[in-house]
Symmetry: C2
Subunit: 406 residues, 2 copies
């Protein structure tokens, strides 16, 4: 597998575009279209929030189809809590694309991100559809990646290539964050993280769903900016088969290889979301090892990643590791606290549940002055492990989120 410069239009047969429809106050691009030239199999993972935005409902219904051609996305408005009108508007977004491109409405998937509880300006969207479609291009990946952004400060794109048999397969993707980020998406489940992945691999719908689930569980589902789960989170993958590899129909070697590539791609995209997290000044990696079950390791890593107190002291460059063990113990996981070791970088600060006397406090302070912080918790009870990524909690985060809607 190699990393290549690119995004959603790097895999063969995918076109994309982005235009300004006037949905965002900022007047930046806010409407994007992703298109596969031939029918693609698709899988989607959605927020498990009980309040689901209209585009989530519509896309879930459309995904029952076997093949898809396009995904239309708007930013600046979540189209959530708009009742039947909202559902109708989400459906209209798909309809407009279907009509102009000669597709069935169910060939088109829909996503939205932005403020909740405001009526979607559907006429503005309708007016820009012709430009959106005529703008489709193999070079349009970046325009698409730009159009889906909200409070993000930069585009998030990534692509990899790998060999499956004698065929070269490409996977590319784009995503946006960067607040209300605590995804827990499943096939048929939940962020307002939006992620769009394209591949020219030939793969069955069932295997594509399996691969997406495996990939997001160790990537998007292991990041946190603020611990708030969105009504709009979704991650889509389209696979059009143009690469010509022997179609993946079972969990064979090629499937595993494809999953490794997809995992790497989604992890890199997920980390970009954290690095660009609202107000973030630090990037924090939390490894939990030595757990009895992987679920335990994940739960502890995620609980630590959402501790406001820990995130504040990371902002303040203060290695107050008591907040790590406090979060660890609050995870609800059963473990023996008198076995636990905790490391800040390579410094052991807790050994067998007890503070290490005379550890190098000045070195710990220096580690916390870096941009990248590494925390490790060893439960010493088994062989399972998990990694979570988070950012610090800054005054800028509070500023950004106290002024968003007005």
């Amino acid at each position: 597998m190699i990393v290549v410069k690119g995004g959603v239009t790097t895999a063969k047969g995918f076109l994309a575009s982005g235009v300004k429809a006037g949905i965002k106050k900022s007047k930046k691009t806010d409407l994007g279209l992703l298109y596969s030239e031939i029918p693609a199999v698709a899988a989607g993972a959605f927020t498990i929030n009980r309040f689901q935005a209209s585009p989530v409902k519509i896309s879930k219904a459309h995904l029952k189809n076997n093949a898809h051609h396009a995904i239309i996305v708007n930013s600046g408005n979540a189209n959530c809590a708009n009742g039947k009108r909202g559902d109708m508007d989400a459906l209209l977004m798909a309809d407009y694309i279907a009509k102009i491109m000669g597709l069935n409405r169910k060939d088109v998937l829909v996503a939205s991100t932005g403020i909740i509880g405001k009526v979607l300006p559907i006429d503005k969207i309708k007016n820009r559809i012709p430009y959106l479609v005529s703008g489709l291009s193999e070079k349009g990946g970046s325009d698409f990646a730009e159009a889906i952004l909200t409070t993000d400060t930069e585009k998030k794109e990534f692509a990899v290539k790998m060999k499956l048999g004698s065929s070269v397969v490409t996977i590319g993707g784009a995503c946006k964050g960067v607040g209300m980020i605590y995804p827990n998406i499943k096939i048929e489940n939940h962020a307002t993280m939006l992620a769009f992945i394209t591949t020219d691999a030939a793969i069955s719908k069932k295997m594509l769903e399996g691969a997406l689930n495996e990939a997001i569980d160790s990537s998007f589902n292991m990041i946190s900016v603020d611990g708030d789960m969105s009504t709009n989170d979704c991650c889509f993958i389209l696979a059009n088969g143009i690469a010509g590899n022997k179609k993946i129909k079972s969990k064979d070697g090629n499937y595993q290889k494809f999953v490794r590539g997809l995992k790497f791609l989604t992890s890199e995209l997920a980390k970009m979301l954290v690095i660009d997290g609202e107000g973030a000044t630090k990037f924090v990696t939390i490894d939990v090892i030595g757990a009895e079950h992987q679920g335990d390791a994940k739960r502890i890593a995620r609980k630590i990643s959402t501790s406001n107190l820990l995130k504040c002291c990371i902002y303040g460059e203060d290695p107050n590791w008591g907040r790590i063990i406090s979060a660890c113990g609050a995870s609800g996981v059963e473990f023996n606290p008198s076995k636990v070791d905790v490391y800040l970088g390579d410094i052991k600060v807790l050994s067998g549940g007890s503070c290490v006397k005379g550890y190098d406090k000045n070195k710990a302070k220096r580690l916390f002055k870096r941009k990248k912080i590494y925390i490790k918790v060893d439960l010493k009870s088994g062989r399972s492990k998990a990694t979570a990524w988070t950012c610090d909690f800054s005054k800028e985060y509070v500023e950004i989120n106290s002024e968003y809607s007005t």
Copy 2:
């Protein structure tokens, strides 16, 4: 029931004191003692954090006794993650009091609050024990309430009187917060909230435990400052029977009356913790009504109370209610989103899951400029309800917690 000015020494037969032992850098009082002149029955509720501080372990063990005389408390150091040395130090705190006062060590309960992972300066404590004991007084409630504080800006005391039969029974209490506040304490369970309650009621240990559990479930366990659960949370109640009421031995009318009084007291103390929450500028009440089960109502109310995004927009006086429904849907509770109504004060903003067109946005903005904010969610699915209290999330919170240990 009437409210009276007072605290832990308002009920008959209780004495208290507070001294400076030099544990806190601030050089404020940091060692407190609470004492019942005759043996009292006691109940305690503790953090469910897997990492439990040494005083929590010791107090849990001592509570197996049938009667108790004293509680010793230090602030400035949590005595947590100090291994066997920590356990020994917590035991020594009880021992010093027992020896000088002629008690058994198990008659004495212990609590600590402050930084995690620093060795307790037990010699400083030992040196001040004689002054702590000689300072015991019926007027010492406020000194005690002062000595237990950490980042609190003021003392938190409350007292009520009620008639049980022909006897006047008094319940008084003091507590401290005000960060790492997301208690979930149970008898044999978990905050660094510390709360100390005294009463002269005559009541059996079993009924006292039941009453405490009922009271904390609708008070301390329904507040949040930052969603971080401490290793040191505890709530103690001592009942010495001096009031001379007919001893409460079953869940009779007098028990119910006592519980109502205790609930009122713990609710008032809990609200004081929120009002004085770290960096708090607003006090938020969240009512969830119309739930099928009370557990559902509690879970939703608590989830809303811990939404960082909501708390940021309350700080910014921005009525961005989408964040209420997003948190509500992320609670994990099954409900029908298309039934839900949401109110800001008396303004209905969501009706049957859909945004109310043309609600008075200027009025909503005015409501959010007040010190006290009221939010109501009606699930319209049943008759159960719950109330949670929280504060806003301010830049000051981040400032306080980015600078705590250094």
